[in-house]
């Protein structure tokens, strides 16, 4: 049963009592939240996700709600908790939906050491996974959204999960988080894209989430073989330049973008070096999304 097949009032009732249980990639997530913006966010963006049956094991029990009754009305705030643990300070109430996404990222990144977890977007075409590691501002999410809107499969826009056992990338497709100008850029590029309510004034500016394609959610349990490792850099006015990157440089840059490289020890090193050896590695400077799309599509043929 998919979320979209449930009546709206039932979904809201689940969220307010007991929790709504969704299958997100390899993870079963329970979400408890009485907040309207959170239910709206889920209704608009998570319609294609399967509901987990009541007796199944839940990987992450999450709660998004006000710290107290007072904080609901006076300078309203919202808190994220993972089974009673609060990884963050409270945020303004209006940022509840964004906080859910960040909170879930935190849960996955800190409790999934069966994977090498890379801070990277990952998409797939023709069986080839393209991994785009990058710091905030490098444009990886924008690039990821553009590719996904052009028929590429979304595996993740934020957390690339590479299995330490088989070296494959395991998907955890979630809404793609766009910041500031990127929201308009993607709207212009792909008028059909569904973008949830924009949350303003977060620490990262305005944030809008793009609904993941139905097909990508459907294939969420199918891993992909890593093929290209591309470090994007958005530079206003630059030409589109794809430059080969030496394996050794690529390895060092990749390690900087891993969440749990230090924890995995020798397995982490082997995983990173296999990934770099088996992929073609590039630096990508770009400003035109259209040019970049053509270039990457060529590369995936």
């Amino acid at each position: 049963m998919k979320l979209a097949e449930l009546p709206k009032n039932l979904i809201i009732s689940h969220l307010k009592h007991g929790g709504l249980k969704l299958k997100i990639g390899a993870f079963n997530v329970c979400i408890y939240s009485p907040i309207d913006t959170v239910s709206e966010h889920l209704l608009v963006l998570y319609g294609d996700y399967d509901i987990v049956s009541d007796n199944d094991f839940i990987d992450f029990h999450t709660v998004v709600k006000s710290p107290s009754i007072i904080r609901r009305y006076f300078r309203p705030q919202v808190n994220f908790s993972f089974d009673g643990y609060f990884p963050f300070k409270p945020l303004p109430y209006t940022q509840a939906s964004a906080m859910f996404e960040w909170g879930l990222n935190w849960c996955i990144a800190n409790h999934s050491h069966q994977y090498l977890v890379i801070h990277a977007a990952v998409v797939e075409r023709n069986g080839k996974a393209f991994i785009f590691p990058g710091n905030p501002g490098s444009g990886k999410s924008t690039l990821c959204a553009a590719l996904v809107c052009n028929g590429w499969r979304l595996l993740s826009d934020e957390l690339t999960l590479v299995s330490v056992v088989d070296g494959l990338v395991y998907p955890a497709p979630r809404p793609i988080s766009l910041k500031n100008k990127s929201i308009e850029v993607i709207r212009a590029l792909s008028p059909d894209a569904v973008i949830g309510s924009v949350v303003n004034n977060t620490a990262k500016g305005a944030i809008g989430h793009v609904r993941p394609p139905t097909e990508s959610v459907k294939l969420a349990s199918v891993p992909a073989m890593p093929a290209k490792l591309i470090f994007p850099k958005f530079l206003d006015g630059s030409k589109t330049i794809l430059a080969t990157l030496s394996k050794s440089r690529a390895l060092l840059k990749l390690v900087e973008n891993c969440f749990n490289y230090n924890i995995l020890g020798v397995n982490g090193f082997n995983c990173v070096s296999d990934l770099v050896n088996d992929s073609d590695c590039f630096n990508l400077e770009y400003s035109s999304l259209n040019e970049t799309l053509l270039l990457l599509t060529d590369l995936s043929d």
């Binding site: 079963n28 007796n55 094991f57 990987d59 009673g84 409790h111 050491h113 230090n262 924890i263 020890g265």
Partner: protein, 357 residues
């Protein structure tokens, strides 16, 4: 209802009968009690590792991977600290978690903690602190009240943190505050330390390791990791009691160090909650050694709640109150009233104040 976690710690075989909903609670209780990795080792020891359903298995493995990394870093940290103390000719005496690790005690398995605790003679405290500061540790307790409080009343100096590695060390000169009601004589502890040849350093004797663990837990004010500490005691007692004469020596040491009360609680509650095999005679002897008049039913009602894993599925309506009473009790044990009242006032105001920032 008995929490699932203590049931499985007591009898791992029962894990085979859990449904996925129960696994869900088991993993959550173990994670919140900081014993998820240890749960893994207990199931591994019982040869059940291959039979755990994949989802809970991945969470257990994930915690173990984290633990394995922690274990390697800790070993390196101990080598570095040993080097610093050697340079000033002070023998390194490890306490608690790090001691279990170098001694290969079963209590080291899956035990994740944040500080290395060491014991040095009080007269060497200054020298040790300077040596550590020279090697890159610094004191990040900036609040002058806290700093003074530590140095004047406590059994340790403020925690030191290493500038580059961000590791933390607690330098103790005793195992209870100087002003505590039942403070042992640190010289007695030092007189009984044991050499660890493999790492070329020292640890407390077996009996003293048990007593220190008991003292720590039953003077504790925060029971976030109470279950983990209780499980430490369970593992230490099971392992050490294989040695002839261990129980008698343990009771004897408790008398010398004036720790009859924490030892009695340790034996009673490991036995009640984790079914630790303790001879009846020893339990009785230990009860008679516990020096103050015990209102054991009251204590049971507090400890049998506070020592369960800190997860909402293990709480009843009295758990919060029990933890609060024990919090106040811990201060009462650790400091005289004339110090405690201003101290608690100060802490409460500070907490209220900083919450709003």
């Amino acid at each position: 209802m008995k929490p699932l976690l203590s049931t499985i710690f007591t009898n791992p075989q029962l894990a085979l009968e859990l449904d996925s909903n129960q696994w869900d609670y088991l993993i959550r209780q173990a994670r919140n009690g900081n014993v998820l990795a240890r749960l893994g080792y207990i199931l591994e020891e019982a040869r059940l590792f291959g039979q755990i359903p994949i989802k809970p298995f991945l969470h257990i493995r994930s915690a173990q991977i984290y633990f394995e990394r922690f274990y390697i870093s800790l070993q390196r940290e101990i080598v570095i600290i040993n080097g610093v103390l050697k340079s000033i000719n002070v023998p390194l005496v490890l306490l608690k978690g790090s001691a279990y690790v170098v001694q290969n005690d079963t209590a080291a398995k899956g035990r994740i903690f944040s500080d290395v605790d060491i014991l040095v003679p009080e007269e060497k405290l200054y020298e040790v602190e300077i040596a550590l500061l020279k090697e890159g540790w610094f004191c990040n307790t900036l609040d002058p009240y806290d700093n003074k409080y530590y140095r004047k009343w406590m059994h340790e100096i403020p925690p030191l943190r290493h500038l580059k590695r961000q590791t933390s060390i607690d330098v103790h000169h005793n195992i209870l505050p100087k002003i505590a009601r039942f403070c042992p004589d640190a010289k007695q502890l030092m007189a009984n330390i044991v050499k660890n040849r493999e790492h070329d350093l020292w640890v407390l004797s077996r009996e003293d390791r048990v007593l220190h663990s008991a003292i720590h837990l039953f003077h504790e004010g925060d029971f976030k990791y109470g279950f983990r500490d209780l499980s430490d005691l369970d593992l230490l007692l099971k392992e050490f009691s294989q040695q002839e004469g261990f129980w008698e020596k343990l009771l004897q040491r408790a008398k010398v160090l004036r720790q009859g009360m924490p030892l009695y609680y340790a034996l009673r509650y490991t036995h009640l909650i984790l079914k630790t095999p303790i001879p009846n005679k020893i339990l009785q002897l230990s009860a008679s050694q516990a020096c103050n008049k015990l209102n054991i039913r009251l204590m049971d009602s507090l400890f049998l709640r506070a020592l369960l894993p800190d997860h909402k599925s293990c709480n009843d309506r009295w758990t919060g109150l029990a933890r609060w009473v024990l919090f106040v009790r811990s201060h009462w044990l650790k400091m005289p009233l004339y110090l405690m009242i201003p101290h608690l006032f100060r802490k409460t105001f500070k907490r209220m104040f900083s919450k709003d920032q």
